[in-house]
């Protein structure tokens, strides 16, 4: 598969994602410069983590105007798979490809540690290799991961099973104690209503190799590949 990874000025997990797709998953990964205007030939698009434009105004707010984002939006509109990780999730929110906003973490500081998330919807192209309710250990690293949206949107997310990951404790209990950043309803990741765009704060690419003592993130990438495999015939070119 051809995996396109968008490089914004200030992206810093772009090479980590490329490493996982090429070296661990055995796929072809392509770094795509934010000034480019096409994602032609790509089977899936990753918006990686980092600090696009230094996150100097609001996270993701400047990156979403990058020339490549029109192509990404169009790709998503045609049903193409788009995964936004951390800063990538924030960019998807600012771009309106996913609903809601990110506020500062409840404790106001940057948090880097392992978090546990529960798979709330295992019937998505990003989680089809997970069991419903499965608990994954995934690293988080962000200062603005406190997801927020209005009550109407939240109800819609809940009703349409758009909440894909929620922060939980090691045993899968979704509690406020297990919520690292104050995120609404313990939301760690959501998808769009069509199901082909996912944003999540944790970094699956940081948990994809045994040498790093964590392979829980691989399930996401395997899910994506399996979904692509199945859809290959239907996939728009």
């Amino acid at each position: 598969m051809n995996i396109g990874i968008i490089v914004f000025p200030g992206s810093n997990c772009d090479r980590d994602c490329a490493h996982v797709f090429s070296e661990v998953m055995g796929q072809a990964s392509h770094l795509i410069w934010h000034q480019d205007t096409s994602v032609k030939g790509m089977d899936a698009i990753i918006l990686p983590g980092g600090f696009s434009y230094g996150d100097y105004l609001r996270t993701g707010s400047i990156a979403r105007f990058s020339p490549i984002m029109d192509a990404v939006a169009e790709f998503a509109g045609r049903g193409g798979m788009v995964l936004g990780i951390c800063n990538g999730f924030q960019i998807l929110l600012e771009a309106g490809l996913l609903p809601g906003v990110m506020l500062r973490n409840r404790a106001l500081s940057f948090i880097c540690e392992d978090a546990y998330v529960r798979v709330e919807n295992a019937d998505t192209p990003f989680t089809n290799q997970c069991k419903p309710g499965q608990v994954l250990r995934l690293p988080i690293a962000h200062a603005d991961g406190n997801y927020f949206t209005d009550p109407v949107t939240l109800s819609a997310l809940q009703a349409n099973a758009q909440i894909v990951f929620r922060y939980c404790d090691r045993d899968g209990h979704v509690t406020s104690q297990a919520n690292p950043n104050g995120s609404l309803d313990n939301i760690a990741g959501i998808r769009n209503s069509a199901g082909n765009v996912l944003g999540l704060m944790p970094h699956p690419e940081r948990g994809a190799e045994s040498v790093l003592h964590n392979e829980d993130g691989v399930t996401l990438f395997r899910s994506m590949l399996s979904a692509l495999e199945k859809n290959k015939i239907r996939q728009p070119v």
């Binding site: 810093n12 500081s109 880097c112």
Partner: protein, 757 residues
């Protein structure tokens, strides 16, 4: 002198102006000799920064020669922007440590942030991609709000810059002592990886080559930062405040990627970052190293503020700037890469053959000085040195006057809660320590370990230094710091291959400070020589003194170790119940200078533990053999807090599951507090699977390293029995893991009055 020299403005330089520039009469005479005439104001400014302590190492240079700097693996020793060692597979590790003490005291957030920015540039200047940051910090005790403010500010500054750059901060160390209340220390270490044959240097080779300026526009920030770092603090220093430099990590990230692209396309002859003394030091150092000259036009330098004089442009310490030298014809490609990344860039001059730093503003020459005189021929001092009168008093400690420990459990809990010993999780949780997906051992073990992609290898890194030991005996203190750093690496399974240092001291014009400095340098040099670890880079920070009070002598070492196979990496925490716990090395009566004496008896006195370097070396090679043969489950070196703290840490520091221990220690003839909390060096606590015990014992005994069976790992409490002769129990400690864990994990956050999730 060229014809244009007539155009040099000749302002009368008063005695006062010369003094304001921190130049002595004698130094001014030397300037006259180098120039053969009076300098103008701009030239005076240039000399003043280049001959400052910070840039010229005038008080330290003669002594730093003692360091062993050669070794099979050394690719680049001291003298460049950073040192480099060969790690095989065609790669070199490039690393260095720098201080940013004074700026961090003035403005903790920006001071620490720009410190990180500076050390990163030192690394990518060499063509290396930075892959790890560490930091070593000293603050006053946290009961003072001012110290909390400095501590919080520094930590968030480091986190903000490093995280944004996407370089993981994988380790460090922090100690608290009131001596640092008015002079905190912020030392930052960075390591990068480069193809060995692509290492870049700060050389302005080749007359006719183009000199380019890239990066941030120049503003008036930090003018005379280098002279400030060469000056003591007093309350009047407040006035220097508007000089604060603000970091722009986003711009630096772009600069990093652009510089690595220059390298990939082989566009450069030389490159150097503009650190202290900015454009001046980068240009004259590059010329001096290559034996050339540089002519540049300050009018071409991109500026942020209107009406800057050449003096200001030359001395500005605006951050995130680099000076490049490229062959004619390649500058267009350089500029194109800069445009791609949105970075300002301009050709500002060219390399000349006349050895002069010639600065023009348009057609007018505003300064003309031999580059070599600025960079290499600065003053050198062999300053008077003598031990302070109080040294004997410090080293005397009458143990008989101290009651032995009554309740070891209570003391242990106190020590685990001492902020110097307690977990620094509140700190490193704010640092992205995983970005780059190389961090195999995250903060929380003796050394951080980072794998090298594309190889089977990994590098271990640590920073260490114990300033109390150095106060009590600077020679021993220096050696002990080297030994501890190396031991921490070995505990991870790494062979130490190189070291960088950051020597933080008081006012070198005081003989006692100079004595501390010389002794510490000797201690470090002797230890490095015996342990065969070359010093490849470093930094000296003098004048760490406020209102006449100097800090404790604080040399910090940043050491790097090589792990050949990623399978043979060890961490400090216990892993399986039933594993046997052994102590390698011997416990002696070593209470002097311990954390125990300070926390429990409020004394910072005595002789620090004696260090037997041969024993230390033997221990390292023996433990490395065991780890490489995959016979060791955990290894944790005994340092601050002694044996009992080490044991407790091995119990509770596991990232997910703590373990208990059942341990019996036989009393020998030591005081109980020495036995449990003394800090004898050359000791490591290991846990071994039962089936490996015989093989381990054989190897260790064969190597002649003392080894004692202490007990085994359990799932219960930490139970320790001390036995006298005939197995007579002298004392018993039984602590639930939760009590120890709570104390160790949360004390720091509690002292800061912040919640920790």
């Amino acid at each position: 002198m060229t014809d244009q020299s007539k155009a040099l403005p000749q302002l009368p330089l008063t005695q006062e102006i010369i003094e304001q520039h921190g130049l002595s009469e004698e130094e001014y005479q030397q300037i006259l000799k180098h120039l053969g005439r009076e300098p103008n104001l701009t030239e005076l400014g240039i000399f003043s920064v280049m001959w400052s302590e910070h840039c010229s190492y005038k008080s330290s240079r003669v002594h730093l020669k003692r360091f062993p700097t050669e070794g099979e693996r050394v690719v680049q020793g001291p003298g460049e922007n950073a040192g480099a060692v060969d790690i095989g597979d065609g790669f070199a590790a490039v690393f260095k440590m720098e201080s940013h003490n004074h700026p961090s005291f003035i403005e903790p957030f920006q001071g620490a942030a720009t410190g990180v920015g500076g050390i990163l540039r030192d690394i990518f200047t060499m063509g290396a991609r930075p892959i790890a940051l560490l930091n070593s910090l000293r603050f006053g005790e946290l009961d003072l709000p001012q110290n909390q403010h400095l501590f919080k500010g520094v930590v968030s500054g480091i986190s903000s810059y490093g995280n944004c750059m996407g370089v993981p901060t994988v380790g460090g160390e922090i100690a608290f002592n009131d001596i640092y209340s008015k002079n905190p220390l912020v030392n930052v270490f960075c390591l990068g990886i480069v193809k060995k044959d692509r290492l870049l240097r700060g050389l302005a080779k080749g007359a006719g080559n183009q000199v380019l300026y890239i990066g941030a526009k120049t503003g008036r920030d930090g003018i005379h930062g280098a002279t400030m770092a060469s000056d003591s603090f007093d309350d009047a220093s407040e006035k220097k405040r508007p000089n604060v430099q603000v970091g722009d990590p986003f711009l630096e990230k772009l600069l990093l990627e652009a510089c690595l692209e220059f390298l990939e396309q082989d566009l450069l002859v030389g490159i150097q970052d503009m650190g202290a003394a900015g454009l001046t030091s980068s240009s004259c150092e590059m010329a001096s190293r290559a034996g050339t000259g540089i002519e540049m036009d300050v009018a071409k330098v991109p500026r942020r503020e209107p009406q800057m004089t050449p003096y200001e442009v030359l001395l500005s310490e605006s951050q995130e700037r680099m000076l490049l030298v490229a062959q004619p014809g390649k500058e267009e490609a350089v500029l194109a890469i800069c445009r791609k990344w949105g970075i300002d860039a301009a050709v500002v001059g060219q390399v000349t053959g006349d050895g002069l730093l010639r600065v023009k503003e348009g057609n007018k020459v505003v300064a003309e000085i031999p580059a070599h005189a600025l960079a290499e021929e600065g003053p050198r001092y062999e300053r008077p040195a003598a031990p302070p009168q109080y040294q004997e008093f410090l080293q005397s400690l009458n143990l008989d006057a101290l009651p032995d420990v009554k309740d070891p459990a209570e003391v242990l809990l106190k020590l685990l809660g001492s902020p110097t010993i307690a977990s620094k999780r509140w700190v490193f949780r704010q640092y992205d320590h995983m970005v780059g997906t190389n961090t195999v051992v995250c903060p929380g073990s003796d050394a951080a370990v980072v794998r090298i992609k594309g190889t089977t290898k990994a590098l271990a890194m640590t920073t260490d230094g114990n300033s109390r030991y150095c106060l009590l005996n600077p020679y021993l203190g220096g050696g002990l710091a080297v030994a501890e750093a190396a031991r921490n690496l070995v505990c991870a399974g790494a062979q130490p291959i190189g070291v960088t240092d950051c020597l933080n001291f008081g006012n070198p014009e005081r003989p006692d400070v100079m004595w501390q400095f010389i002794m510490a340098v000797e201690g470090i040099a002797d230890a490095c020589r015996t342990l065969e670890i070359p010093v490849v880079s470093g930094n000296v920070s003098f004048y760490n003194e406020t209102n006449g009070l100097s800090i404790y002598p604080t040399p910090i070492l940043g050491m790097v170790g090589l792990i050949e196979r990623q399978e043979a990496i060890t961490t400090q925490w216990f892993k399986h119940p039933g594993d046997r716990i052994f102590l390698l090395g011997e416990t002696k009566e070593d209470l002097g200078g311990t954390e125990y004496l300070k926390v429990i008896h409020a004394r910072e006195q005595g002789s620090p533990p004696w260090l037997d370097l041969d024993l230390e070396k033997n221990l390292h090679s023996c433990l490395l053999t065991l780890i490489r043969n995959e016979l060791v489950e955990s290894a944790h070196d005994c340092s601050e807090g002694g044996l009992l703290v080490t044991l407790a840490e091995s119990c509770v520091t596991h990232p997910s599951a703590p373990f208990g221990a059942n341990v019996i220690i036989s009393q020998q003839r030591l005081r109980l507090d020495s036995l449990l909390f003394g800090e004898s060096p050359s000791r490591v606590l290991v846990s071994i699977r039962p089936q490996h015990v015989d093989q381990v014992l054989e190897t260790v005994q064969h190597a002649g390293v003392p080894i004692t069976l202490l007990g085994e790992v359990t799932q219960g409490n930490m139970d320790v029995t001390v036995q006298g002769p005939h197995e007579h129990p002298v004392c018993q400690v039984s602590l639930p893991l939760s009590d120890m864990a709570d104390q160790w994990h949360h004390s720091l956050a509690r002292q800061l009055g912040v919640e920790q999730a």
